[in-house]
């Protein structure tokens, strides 16, 4: 099935019971499949009037204690930034999928990875981060979406699936589990009607600076926990590698082939694929740097994740970059040629 459909199946399997979305290429299949699967599962589907409305509907459903999700692509995700800041500030769980396309502005509908900064550094205002997962296969579009709901509930923070037009649109075989074990926590804080308890209120407004500082410190503490427990990555042939390619999502697949082609040419190349973009696998990269590796970061952008790789190695290793823009996707041969040079 298509990556976009697997994303939907993963959400349903994770007991997401509310989807609010808006059409935008290349993720139109997501609201389309959701319009069928979500009501079939007894959940709520609305095609909202805009991506702004959709993220605010998610905010409402999440406030009421429901697992809720929205999806979009780059320009539409920009529209959600206000809502995501509010969701993070109110410490609510939700999942957002970004099937990236060419930008900035209206860009085009070809694949890109230009939203890394927006996703990982927080495109909305304030000191918050998203928990970001980057699938590189249709299987991961399913499995990482399930994980995203788990993480969102665990940390009471929005989680993002950062995908792209290739992963969203490609067709691959998927193994769908018969049943997913979801340990959905109790949500005694939810605003769902104060029967038998005092009132709850969901807010990100804290007028007293002392209170807002405390809330912010609580939120930062969650991110410290996430950095300890939720780092995920995959390595290929790094042990004897001189050069380690660093890439995520579709570029990681292309780099894996480039790695093999480079090996055939006699170059000792490995691949490091971050799966969690926040929290970033900084420690492992620092280890590889200390072991004498050089890095080449490959992205469909002008260079965004490369900054986090540089921060991770902290001057201990050479970090080169190769990227293409505008939706141009380099071939493995093109990458291999860069490596060999």
């Amino acid at each position: 099935m298509k990556g976009n459909e697997a994303l939907v199946r993963g959400a349903i399997a994770a007991e997401c019971r509310a989807f609010f979305g808006y059409p935008i290429t290349p993720q139109n299949e997501v609201p389309e499949y959701m319009s069928q699967y979500m009501p079939d599962a007894g959940g709520v589907f609305i095609q909202a009037e805009s991506e702004v409305a959709a993220i605010n509907m998610v905010y409402g459903a999440a406030s009421a204690g429901i697992r809720a999700m929205t999806s979009s692509s780059s320009p539409g995700v920009s529209l959600k930034m206000e809502g995501l800041s509010y969701i993070a500030g109110a410490q609510l769980p939700c999942v957002v999928a970004n099937v990236q396309r060419g930008g900035p502005g209206l860009g085009n509908i070809a694949p890109a990875q230009g939203d890394y900064f927006q996703a990982v550094k927080g495109g909305g205002h304030g000191d918050y981060r998203l928990l970001v997962l980057a699938p590189w296969s249709v299987q991961e579009m399913h499995d990482l979406t399930v994980l995203a709901f788990t993480l969102a509930d665990k940390y009471r923070n929005p989680a993002m699936i950062l995908s792209d037009a290739i992963i969203g649109q490609m067709l691959e075989a998927v193994e769908l589990p018969d049943k997913v074990e979801n340990c959905i926590p109790q949500k005694p804080w939810a605003a769902n009607g104060a029967k038998g308890r005092g009132r709850n209120y969901i807010t990100s407004l804290y007028i007293a600076p002392e209170t807002l500082e405390r809330i912010n410190l609580d939120i930062q503490a969650k991110y410290r926990q996430a950095r300890k427990h939720e780092v995920r990555y995959q390595e290929f042939m790094v042990d004897d590698a001189d050069i380690v390619l660093v890439a995520y999502g579709c570029m990681a697949r292309i780099c894996r082939t480039a790695m093999k082609l480079s090996r055939e040419k006699g170059c000792k190349v490995g691949l490091f694929r971050p799966i969690s973009l926040f929290p970033f696998p900084s420690e492992r990269l620092a280890e590889l740097a200390a072991a004498g590796k050089r890095f080449m970061v490959v992205e469909l952008s002008a260079g965004q994740m490369v900054e986090d790789v540089r921060l991770s190695v902290n001057g201990a290793a050479e970090v080169d970059f190769y990227g293409r823009l505008g939706g141009i996707v380099p071939s493995p041969v093109e990458i291999m040629e860069q490596v060999v040079r």
Partner: protein
Amino acid sequence: MKKIFGRPKALTDVTMAYCPGCTHGIAHRLVTEIIDELDVMDHTVAVCPVGCAVFMYEYLECDTIEAAHGRAPAVATGVKRCLPDRVVFTYQGDGDLAAIGTAEIVHAATRGENISVIFINNAIYGMTGGQMAPTTMLGQHSTTTPGGRQQARAGYPIKVCELLSSLEGVTYAARVSLTSPANVVKARKSIKTAFQRQIDRKGLSIVEILSTCPTNWGMTPLDAMAHIDKNMSLYYPLGVFKE
């Protein structure tokens, strides 16, 4: 001796921070009286706006959600669709509903969301110090229309009830004021209808309450009330626009 009047149970025992002469106090009171009368407090969810009523959660005993500016109808939609048996209402000012939130209210209305909308129209932006609102009247002074609102620069004021009444998903639209006991009684009746229609799943209800802002109008509380009767009600006529 029989007790015939008191604080509604749904209204907290907290001193309100609103200005002297502000009709938010009366509006909050009427909404909470209706919540008591319909006995729905333990399954009501209120969605508060950005504006002076951003602190409304301090005054309500029911669950409350603070929405981003203008987004309350979308937030309310998220809650109501997931938990359809809860009573969900939004309480919004003129900037929240008729400026930044125009898309959200129009689409919640046209979808016929079973929510109740309390729209506080005081023709000015109170919280931020008196700038023009979409409902500021022509010739009315505001800090961003010095010399009075001119149509050439700032366009015409919006008549929200009239606008929303054209949408099929709207089951009830009424404009009321709070300038006299008689008007307060009518307002209360409209608010009750707005909540009852939700319970009966008839669609979206909106009660537009012409409200005072003595501070930013530069008037005394009594003059402000008179201004609604003598001026605002001429442009924004009271009445039921859809039922």
